[in-house]
Amino acid sequence: MSEKLDRLAACLEKKFKGRLQGLTQECGEITLQVAPGDWHPLARMLRDDPELRFEMLVDVCGVDYMAYGVTEWATETSSSEGFSRGVEEATFGRFTFDEAPDAGQHQGPRFAAVYHLLSISHNHRLRVRCFCPEDEFPTVPSVVEIWSSANWFEREAFDLYGIIFEGHPDLRRILTDYGFVGHPFRKDFPLVGHVEMRYDPEQQRVIYQPVTIEPRVLVPRVIRNDHRYLDDSAEETSADA
């Protein structure tokens, strides 16, 4: 299996020389990182090249890297009184629309579209990540004309993250309510949402009103650098320090 992966990785590197932002291999999967400008010609090659033949686009996923690495509980630094017991509220589950969440440690653009490709003829899988250059107005070229299945997936990523897929024939909201405001899966969109809907007996119709439920998260978000998952290089640096 890994031999096959290495072959695919070598093939990709040879074919896309100089046009990739990165190629990584982990958990038995290959991830390519491409620039939005290069994505369209590369996608066409991925589909049509006889050695690659990724006929199927399995999935398109929007990702918001804004809160990457945010924790709510310091687990490593201790004071003279021991480890901190306090939870610092930082994630989207805990705030409402008036408050702004913490930014994470992610460097670079905030939004990305992640594509999963499948080659039926060669039995390969591939992941392609394409970062949107601008955070305020994230855009990526659409691949609907290359893979028809991208249609609804791109609509979904647009709906939930506000990523604009340039060249999409019909970029409408798909999962959220008619007249919905905002992009709910962004990390600065609170879990409780913004409005709630109820039937108003006086007006005898359904009305929208600001949410009344309290944000409530039971378990703090914690990152523990478990020694089992440290690789050798990380151990060496910590030993040096």
Binding site: V58, C61, V219, R224
Partner: protein, 417 residues
């Protein structure tokens, strides 16, 4: 002469043939569909966002509620994604149990699909027959997890507990006499595995019964043959997977091509269609039920002969057994930490796909090293299939849209998420 124009027709969301909450806006020319625009999202619960705010294990139950007709297969995809990130593999017995329940789930799903599809097309009896067999399989769910539908049985690193040695019995009541109960309880005297075995013995004849009613039935064939034809090239373009893709003549099954769990140790065949119409998809699914039955039989035999652990012996991921927790300090700490905080998953990303009854069910997971996932993306097969409804229904009659929705085998829990 009056002016004849296209008109728009709202199909659903409260329509019995809409399989849940599908609102379909149809542009009709007389009775011929010109354009179909599915409006989905009426069941959108933000499962993926909720999963981001909870420790990993607390979201297993949400997975059941995605495609609520094939519960354990969803759990399997989710658990596999976590296991890949953690770099662990459950014990072999747990993998066999998973395969067995995946296949039980496949039969459950296909029975419901068959019953409702036939009901939509006009065969009432099928619905009753299918639910008769579903009852036994749902009892298996109940025996193993305590719940008849939303089992929450799989765990990263194994399954919640081993298979039970006894089955629940029917009790005599006002509606069931002692004699009736004796008949019903006949198969329930032994363990769960005995019960499943007796089911697999009688199930193939039941499939024969369904086929007698439908396969050569003139009305059934008139309603399904040549409806919604999708060629193999187009099926790949549209992202079809599972029976939809195989119905179009592409031999692709993740259980064979990218085997997970114990599928590479089992013997089964992949049915493939020829014409890519609704009738071929029906035939593919019928044969899949027989093949699932075959897989279940092999699993039962293996499980009877190979007792062993069903949970990984890693206290950092799986909680210790109850008795140990009462007596051992360290076990108590492990238990407390796992249930208050959960486990941290190393930073990275993984995509795990399983052959779900409807197609490829994938879970893409990004972890930043925390005890909660950074991003969970569910790749639902039904979502992709429904997106092709517009193309498939163009030029067909209104009544064929009902056949197509049935043939797509859609469930809104997974489409809307």
């Amino acid at each position: 002469m009056p002016e004849i124009r296209n008109y728009t027709l709202n199909f659903g969301p409260q329509h019995p043939a809409a399989h849940g909450v599908l609102r379909l806006v149809l542009e009709m020319d007389g009775e011929v569909v010109q354009r179909a625009d599915p409006h989905i999202g009426l069941l959108h619960r933000g499962t993926e966002k909720l999963a981001e705010s909870k420790p990993y294990n607390q979201s297993i139950g949400y997975m059941d509620r995605l495609d609520y007709m094939s519960m354990m297969c969803n759990e399997h995809g989710y658990c596999l994604a976590i296991e890949r990130l953690l770099g662990i593999e459950p014990p072999l017995r747990a993998q066999y149990i998973r395969v067995m329940f995946d296949e039980i789930t496949r039969i459950l799903n296909h029975l419901l699909w068959l019953g409702t599809h036939a009901l939509d097309v006009g065969a009432m009896t099928m619905f009753l027959y299918c639910f008769r067999e579903r009852e036994d399989l749902i009892d298996c769910y109940e025996a193993v997890s305590g719940s008849r539908m939303h089992a929450t049985y799989y765990r990263p690193g194994g399954v919640a507990r081993d298979l039970p040695g006894t089955m629940a019995q029917y009790q005599p009541s006002r509606w069931k006499s002692k004699a009736d109960v004796a008949v019903l309880n006949q198969d329930r005297q032994g363990s769960l595995l005995d019960f499943i075995e007796s089911f697999t013995e009688r199930f193939p004849t039941k499939v024969d019964e369904y086929e007698t009613l439908l396969t050569e039935n003139r009305i059934w064939r008139q309603r399904t043959v040549g409806i919604g034809v999708v060629g193999p090239e187009r099926a790949l373009q549209l992202g079809f997977t599972g029976p939809m893709l195989r119905g179009s003549g592409v031999e692709w099954d993740l259980r064979k091509k990218q085997p997970y769990a114990a599928y590479d140790r089992l013997d089964f065949d992949i049915p493939v269609g020829v014409n890519g119409d609704s009738y071929d998809r029906y035939l593919v699914r019928m044969e899949e039920m027989r093949q699932s039955n075959r897989i279940i039989r092999q699993c039962v035999e293996w499980l009877k002969n190979n007792p062993g652990p069903v949970r990984l012996d890693d206290r950092k991921i799986m909680a210790p057994p109850r008795e140990e927790m009462k007596a051992d300090m360290e076990s108590l700490i492990h238990h407390f930490k796992l249930f208050t905080e959960g486990y941290c998953v190393p930073a990275g990303e993984s995509y795990a796909a399983v052959e779900h009854p409807k197609g490829e069910f994938g879970v893409y997971m990004i972890s930043d090293g925390a005890n909660k996932p950074y991003r969970v993306k569910v790749r639902p097969p039904g979502y992709v299939h429904l997106s092709a409804l517009d193309e498939m229904s163009r030029g067909h009659m209104l009544a064929d849209v009902v056949t197509l929705i049935g043939s797509l085998d859609i469930v809104f829990g997974e489409i809307d998420r």
